[in-house]
């Protein structure tokens, strides 16, 4: 599904990613963890080219997205992204947030999009908030709308960039629940997270990044009970 080969990214003189090679299979849920500044968010943002890699190659569905000839817009339409700070469109209602891209980008009719939007809002438990503007929603509700907005494009992969880090503690669970049920539908997911419990329970694989390097790549049971590297051990001691 996603293949990454020797991915490098620098911001000026600062090299954030120092050659990452990995792949994500279809239907796989991958948790990307690591200390802050390890490059995990940058890695995720490179996958849909919100950050342009300095060098290296990325394929999604056998299409090389880092190829200059590839239509990035087309790729992004099939890659859903959920941000730490939600980034809902504040001048649109919850439902309009969901229906905008399917209508304007996919050319869906308003009726179709409204129906799809309502279904998705129901799925994330917010059917009664369809006509609310984002400012009237709690953080957890905003993030659930944001997940539904990404799903409305019927993506093949979902990227989550610290989806619960900006939430009040009591709202983390409702968002994780939605993500968990999404994982059960067989959605391919890459999740940058600090929620170790969630990673352990839901992920098929854990990628541990430190200093821009992929240090460990293991199933969660193995990674959390028996990390190989000293850096992972140190990190887990601080987190757990």
């Amino acid at each position: 599904m996603i293949n990454v080969e020797d991915l490098h990214k620098s911001f000026g003189k600062l090299e954030v990613l120092k050659g990452i090679t990995t792949s994500i299979e279809e239907g796989e849920v991958v948790a990307i963890i690591g200390p802050s500044g390890s490059g995990k968010s940058t890695f995720l943002r490179c996958l849909n080219l919100l950050e342009i890699p300095t060098s290296g190659k990325i394929w999604i569905n056998n299409q090389e997205v880092t190829d200059k000839k590839t239509n990035i817009m087309k790729i992004r339409q099939d890659v859903g992204m959920v941000f730490q700070h939600f980034h809902l469109f504040p001048h649109k209602t919850a439902l309009e947030n969901l229906t905008y891209a399917p209508m304007k980008v996919r050319g869906m009719s308003k009726q179709e999009a409204d129906k799809l939007g309502q279904e998705l809002l129901e799925k994330v438990g917010l059917a009664n908030k369809a006509s609310e503007y984002p400012t009237r929603l709690s953080g957890g509700q905003k993030q659930r709308v944001a997940i539904a907005r990404a799903l409305a494009m019927n993506p093949e992969v979902m990227l989550f960039d610290e989806p619960t880090s900006a939430l009040d503690p009591e709202m983390v669970k409702e968002v994780l629940e939605v993500m968990k049920s999404l994982a059960h539908t067989g959605m391919t997911m890459a999740i940058v997270t600090h929620e170790m419990g969630f990673a352990r329970e839901v992920a098929d694989r854990v990628l541990f990044l430190d200093g821009g390097v992929l240090v460990e790549d293991a199933p969660p049971a193995e990674f959390f009970t028996n990390p190989k590297s000293g850096r992972a051990k140190e990190f887990l001691e601080k987190m757990l």
């Binding site: 001048h91 905008y100 304007k104 980008v105």
Partner: protein
């Protein structure tokens, strides 16, 4: 003091008729200037160097010289440049749109830059093309924030429009002069003209507040 407001009473309808002309110029120039302002603002944030350079130079020139000079250049200079005498009304609308376009582009540019960067990223992540993103996502949010500044610009435009009286357009100002000349009393008709401008500006302010309330629905 030698004041007699009753003496200009018969001339009031004549001065009032200037409102239509003033409003025509302001509305037309306002709309054209707004459209131009959006285009210039988009040039300013564009990654194309030439467009950036052009828009910066444009703003610099139109902000850096007096409006009355721009008006005079277009009106009195037209026979030499275009080979025909441009209509006063057209010269007024043209110079005012070009001028307010420069100011409005700065307002809009600031408004666009003030929209959270995450909005652009969210739109990009959904695969929304640049034009659509600007038009449907970024600009509506920018407009809400810059409405007071924009209103201010239209108010300035309304008042500054009085200088079209220098190219013989019979707007409110010009008519007040004419009445003053006939009666040998300038104070009374000028005070009346001032009152009209003030009412116009107050009306604009109220409209602006109403629009702002409407746009803040989503807060």
């Amino acid at each position: 003091m030698n004041l007699d407001f009753t003496s200009i009473l018969p001339s009031l309808p004549y001065i009032l008729k200037g409102i239509g002309i003033t409003l025509q110029i302001v509305l037309l120039a306002g709309l054209l200037g707004f459209a131009l302002g959006i285009i210039i603002a988009l040039f300013k944030i564009s990654s194309v160097k030439l467009l950036k350079w052009f828009s910066d130079a444009y703003t610099s020139i139109f902000r850096g010289t007096p409006l009355i000079l721009q008006l005079a250049l277009i009106y009195y200079g037209s026979p030499q440049i275009f080979g025909f005498q441009i209509e006063p009304f057209a010269a007024a609308v043209l110079s005012f749109s070009l001028n307010s376009g420069a100011y409005i582009s700065e307002i809009i540019r600031a408004g666009i830059l003030a929209v959270d960067k995450g909005q652009r990223e969210a739109a990009m992540a959904l695969g929304i093309p640049y034009k659509r993103m600007m038009w449907d996502i970024i600009l509506p949010q920018a407009m809400k924030n810059i409405l007071p500044a924009l209103m201010n610009e239209f108010i300035t435009l309304t008042k500054e429009s009085a200088i079209v009286s220098t190219i013989a357009i019979t707007d409110i100002m010009r008519r007040a002069y004419i009445v003053g000349g006939h009666q040998y009393r300038f104070f009374e008709p000028l005070i009346f003209a001032g009152l009209i401008y003030y009412v116009l500006v107050m009306t604009l302010t109220l409209i602006g507040k109403a629009v702002e309330r409407r746009m803040r629905r989503s807060d």
